[in-house]
Symmetry: C2
Subunit: 323 residues, 2 copies
Amino acid sequence: MTKTKKLTINDIATKANVSTATVSRYLNGQLNQMSATTASKLKKIIKETAYIRNSAAVQLAKQKSNLVAVVASNIDEYFSSEYFKGVVSILSAQGYIGVLFDSNSDEITESNLLESVYNQNFAGLILQPLSTQHHLIDKFTNNHIPVVLIDRDIGNGDISTVTTNNFQVTKFAMESFLGKGFKKVTIITEPVNRISTRVERIAGVRSVFNHAQLIEVDTDHLNLSELSDDLDIKNPTHLLFVLKERLLIQLLANTDLLHEPKTQQRLTGFIDTNIPKYLAPTYKFIQQSPYLMGATAAELLMTQFSEQQPTDIKQIVIPSHFE
Amino acid sequence: MTKTKKLTINDIATKANVSTATVSRYLNGQLNQMSATTASKLKKIIKETAYIRNSAAVQLAKQKSNLVAVVASNIDEYFSSEYFKGVVSILSAQGYIGVLFDSNSDEITESNLLESVYNQNFAGLILQPLSTQHHLIDKFTNNHIPVVLIDRDIGNGDISTVTTNNFQVTKFAMESFLGKGFKKVTIITEPVNRISTRVERIAGVRSVFNHAQLIEVDTDHLNLSELSDDLDIKNPTHLLFVLKERLLIQLLANTDLLHEPKTQQRLTGFIDTNIPKYLAPTYKFIQQSPYLMGATAAELLMTQFSEQQPTDIKQIVIPSHFE
DNA sequence: TTGTAAGCGTTATCAT
DNA sequence: ATGATAACGCTTACAA
């Protein structure tokens, strides 16, 4: 309950009988620029007084912020929180702080959020884009704020991107089902819009089953009975391919669908958690590596911090697995 | 592609032929302290130049940060991301930024995180505590950094807290099952330790079924067959009460358990998402209101910001519902 | 190895 | 209604 008045670097300097410059050097790890005795004296005093720097002052003097904005398209998805953890793991090791924002699957919200993020002096931006509008991002890049896109591409070669092999892994899975005798595929997804991940996955399906039909639904208002005609459950050579885990779980929960044929998997898709595995332990699904994707995006961002020239743009693909 | 050199308040002042003081007043909304013409001139110039304040300088001058740390016990839980959204909804309306940290269900991590958060000059802390150690928090309160606990209590009356009615709602649910003829209850949970939510829920069960047995398991390594003796499925008057959604889903996925009796619900617990509802549409579960809890915690924090005296400590309970 | 002092961009007090 | 200017706490040449 010691009443603590805010300590400054000056107080420390006085106590140690050195100048503020020396204290500052110590705080910034320039130990080679001072005697061992000075260093240990400072170490002791700083520990005793529990002094901490005023980070606003540090940032003002150093002319750089240590805040990185991470704008997720929808935090409710486990995918988002998982790649956020990957981002943070890299950032915090370098003294940066990751700040999570949620576009909530809404382009208007995303636009407002980016505007507000821009106004808050962040050092960098990691964005899982909803809109394909380049100009939302231009503001950042024009002002030399590094940007990395994650999960989705917006067809702008000027920006570093971390995605997964949506097309390839889907194609691979489809070939496996083709080999098992499946003749027909129905893709179930939220509205495709121009979301690159969805477009690529659909292309992956159609590269094998070129007449695969597409059903767009709304996760929150899914009505299974309405769909039942399209689902065509009785046909044992008909595969359902679901692009979103929540949707997949709802279908898996329909035990008729899950257990009638018993012998053959007739339902698969992209998953984020192991909940689908609880429901169907023998099934194979497509799993991404969101944590790794986040960590990679953060690393890409860090390299851009250390560069003078805003070059070195990279497009990295983190593979997903069908298993 | 305009090459933008960082604009300062000085540049704006020069362009407008006024002093920096006037610009600063404008930026801070003191419009009554200047002529309408000056104000509109500034408005125009600021818009044209897309000038934004350097927030480090603002914070240094105003002597306050706009960052609030939100330390969740485990981001993987939907509960956490949901209350975080509630927190952010309130904070951002007041110009504060919520920063999410993850203790990852580990007390050591929590302790390190709090230390690091403390060193980063946050304006406030919203904590879902893992440890019941008061001293981790004392550092903050001693330095007049407001703290609000969420979800869990650590038995410290000096700190504002937002929790739910764990005991009451559990008791209510149990009475309902008692009325339906259940004779025996088994509680399935992760290790209780001293986590207040778990303790209270168990007490709620035992206030009705005083001999309810307790099974502590590890979510990640749940082995259903090992448990089967304890689960005692064949007994139609035996209720399973599960404290954690992920665990509940695993049990619900066991279709024998779910569908054998068909007529009567034999499994319930606390849920965070509507996935259990997909799996068992007719079942009743206990649902919390994490978003509201987060928003409430943030409001509590804000009141502490505006106070001089660190009094006005409140313990708020947001009820959960069995339905 | 250490010190001096001029910034960093904004706010807020005191004048006018 | 507006301006001049001293803080705010730290970093970093430049000196010594």
